[in-house]
Symmetry: D2
Subunit: 343 residues, 4 copies
């Protein structure tokens, strides 16, 4: 039984980790920390656990964390950067659900996250945890950078096209839509039900932190510079994310479907939908699946790729568990076999 | 491995059975029927299953159903009444998620459901499947009447008070609130998002089919006549149900909490919340749990009981699986251990 | 043209006043104050006004407020109490959308609002502004206490029954449901979309500030003590409120409908629906109407009254404008003739 | 007082016309027709009107329609095509909220709408009713083709760029998002709350009826062929629409803002937001306004234009009233001055 600890378990990725690991037969959560909620029962904060868990929030420096086999950081950026090293030195694997180790260029990271990156050496050792592009490295990782939600949806949409050199690398547009849970559980006026329900808006249009992460990943796939426009939108729903990606085919007559099918044929969590069937975010709600459709626009070289995930599962905690499974040599689907909650 | 068949699998209780049984290690769904969708792949109708199931809708008289150990009827009323007998004669257990066998008085049933009850003998043999009141009989049942959603929430709220004779049996009021999925998946103008979202209403105030079911159950608990007012409300959400029940304590000074704790101490799916903590329907969303709080109104003999369930799980398909587990001698929690989806 | 000022215009009742008065031909809003937003354009905070208003937030002690004919306080409790007097001395009428002058007993008020009531004399002069019960006094008011949302819905539901002495005054139950906007626009974790959407809960069951306000009002109508249970619920929608009120008829055979029709026949904003038609909160969304239905429960002396309002309009800002119209001798419907926004 | 008739008043554009005209001082709705609801009171179908209207549904050939000054067709396609001529011959102006007269090429129309266009002569006489591009012709129109919702949002987003020849006409992408009311009020399983709430999806990706309408309009503006990709999305909200439009600037250094400000400086219903402020659909909910922002993407020639409307107001019934005002020489803002309903 793998012993897991969660640092910063008061947000949505924290409770989602608890939910998923509750169903995982090979893992036990033995510690969860929160400075603000120290000594409180977890099930008084997250009442979905009432009667099902005796966990109590501890301090992030509680010794029990050092008895774990794996530590999940579900913290604001900057925290994992400072805390990860001590665990790794003790042989404890670290999975950071935050952004501290996603961007390999520390200067670029600092620009977007507004603080210095103090752990250049750790950053070098971190493995970017998108299993569909990086599984072999993940197996050996001690420090795993769990991808952002938008980057996950966009990379899965584009991988077959970029690796097979089917599209122009200039002018890619990713119009992305996310449920509100992506904004976190903090007390934020802009995320009140009365401010977000029955409305849709763009945000971060002039620049969003996931842009450099996506650009870096696409350029690794492409082996060259990628010109990429990314506009996220806030959608009045709790969970769910769609990337609608617009690309120009180099050859208008390419049948791209076989490339998608081939790329993901062995992937347990990526499903290519039948032609003419478009994904709906609800179909992957609460599950770790990504569903993808492609549609060629008639009389044009434009191709539209639609990719949906649950931003809290494949876009965060589910992918973290998938990565943990890979890192510990478990069945990659352990704890993640549930299908989406419909309706 | 128990072989299960589902008759009438095109609605919300059907897909919910598929979702729950997908996680059940001891059961395999080998057949699912629908006249209208015969020969279609199930995952084209319920895309949450895309890539995860090869089931194909068959006709309700397909022979494969006769190879099952248990048949779930997820059909409109009248269908299970006609079809259940043939399976039972073959030794196949039947669980009816509909209303055909819930009301023991065939005349009363006919009044509420607008058709003759043709199977008086079957009706006599049916067991009402609320495990918290009827577990021993369920173990031996061949024909199980799965309770309605409102009746489940209300009975669990009232059982400790009625069996311990703590309240007046006249003047009980149950003000109930349900998500829209309770109205089913049929094309119904009144259940369009634009007709139900951002609104709340009462319905069935002058009489609702769950009233006689609840009244019958409460009177069995009480051993005498119960005067009971029931008003359901439609709430703009997909899943979730709360019964807010108002009763008059016979003795204003009774501390009712110990009776609730005691009644449900061994129940795997009923949780009594701490004093001062009220349930929220979201905390049981997607799970089989029922969470209950009680609150005495100061300077009065009025007691308020709040009981929440997911209407599609403990209020329908989850309770059906729980009953199946009991009927087959499995661990009652098999396939049902997940906690609620939060947020 | 009446000049209006708004103190505390940064919340939902503030923007709702702006919206309603924008459509009022006889009133101009000349000042709106907010300490935190001083000097900001109102249309940068409430973008529904973009291009339609040049108002700028000022300080609450800005001299321009003294040039007004009427001041609306849309402030947390305690603010109007301290500020109203100075305006009234200058002959400026004051309408308090908060709770400072609703409860006539200062001691009782202090108990519920957690501070001393410092203005006993002002409190004595305040008029409770429910036009349907108090129109003549409102005409002469200099200081108007605008009713709470729940109290408005409940009083309108009960007035015909209490004034005509048709029901028992013990055991009245009001199970009330409100949209989330009633909780205000403050940054409050519990009111995030992800915390309130797709869920329903009771709150304030052991005691809510609107309880004494309702009790006081009902006892004035009754001329005697009223025993009243009030349980509010939070519903996942922005606007809308329903009171579902359960009472015991003194005579089971009373036809109560004529009493409702008669009581409200001259009221511009109260509509009694046809028998068998139940109200839906959406039908009054954005409007100042209250729609009411009554339903006798068969074989019982129980009567259910359903009363719906928009909590921000008839439950707050719309009623404030209605009161203003009465206080200034305008047509009571000025600025309030719009029907509900459907869908 | 202008007498208005509505043919096909049972859907969302019908009730929205009734709501808007209820507030219009110069117009009276004297007739509303529906075959299916003939003889029923309108306020029993749309209870927002309860007590506020005595209108009764009549047959579409009722003589009272011939006494009108203007007829609004709020009907499925094909109906206005057959019915409009008779009114026009009598000198009655006709405004078609449907699609029968939007596409000038009858063959193209037939391809998209699946029926023959039988009224070539009427089609020639029809005026496309986007006031911001066509006001002078609208003034003289007897037959007005009210634009589609998506076409309205997209044209307003692109007009300043195309008329001023600032962008490439190949590769324009309009990623559009609509609330569910755009799908109408018919009993449609796919539009149930449980099928659309808490989800987002693309639809009509391979071809949508609004594509040829938009393409035609853009090509009129440009005077040449426009290559245009249009992908609509369904958003879980009742009202609201955003077009997020991606274009390539011919000169990366162009400051486009002055072109937008200049184009719309005299327009009563188009608002250009401040730089860095993005529109939210809620800010125009229930109003006839269109709010637009532009954002240049750094280090690229890509420009993003965000345009929001209420699909039922500026996208349908509000624009129809605006057109009526122009056609009858009324103040263009009559009945349309309300600001958005926030929250």
């Amino acid at each position: 039984m793998i012993k897991a600890g969660i640092i910063g378990g008061t947000g949505y990725t924290g409770i989602e980790l608890l939910r998923l690991l509750h169903n995982h037969e090979g893992v036990e959560v033995v510690a969860i920390s929160s400075r603000s909620l120290n000594t409180q029962r977890v099930d008084t904060v997250f009442a979905s656990l009432a009667g099902q868990s005796d966990l109590i929030f501890s301090l992030p420096d509680d010794d029990i964390l050092n008895t774990c086999d794996v530590i999940f950081f579900a913290t604001p950026h900057g925290v994992a950067m400072e805390g990860a090293g001590a665990f790794i030195e003790k042989g404890i694997k670290v999975i950071d659900l935050g952004a501290d180790f996603r961007i390999t260029d520390a200067v670029e990271w600092s620009k977007w996250y507004g603080m210095q990156h103090t752990q250049a050496k750790l950053l070098d050792s971190a493995v970017y945890g998108l299993p569909e592009t990086n599984r072999e490295q993940i197996k050996k990782a001690m420090l795993l950078a769990n991808p952002g939600c938008y980057p996950t949806a966009v990379q899965l949409a584009l991988k077959p096209l970029i690796t097979n050199k089917l599209i122009s690398l200039s002018g890619i547009v990713a119009d992305c839509k996310s449920g509100v849970s992506g904004a976190g559980r903090g007390a934020n006026q802009a995320m009140l039900l009365c401010e977000t329900s029955e409305s849709l808006k763009s945000y971060g249009v002039s620049g969003h932190r996931h842009h450099p992460e996506i650009k870096q990943a696409l350029e690794i796939l492409a082996g060259e510079t990628v010109n990429f426009t990314f506009v996220p939108h806030l959608v009045p729903m709790i969970r769910g994310m769609q990337a609608t990606v617009y690309v120009d085919l180099l050859d208008e007559n390419t049948d791209v479907r076989p490339y998608f099918v081939d790329t993901y044929s062995d992937e347990p969590f990526v499903t290519i939908l039948n032609d003419g069937t478009y994904p709906e975010t609800r179909n992957v709600k609460s599950s770790n699946f990504c569903q993808i459709s492609v549609q060629k626009i008639p009389n044009s070289n434009k191709l539209v790729i639609m990719s949906v995930i649950d931003n809290l599962v494949k876009g965060a905690s589910g992918q973290a568990v998938q990565n943990m499974n890979i890192m510990f040599g478990l069945d990659e689907k352990s704890g993640l076999s549930s299908i989406g909650l419909l309706p």
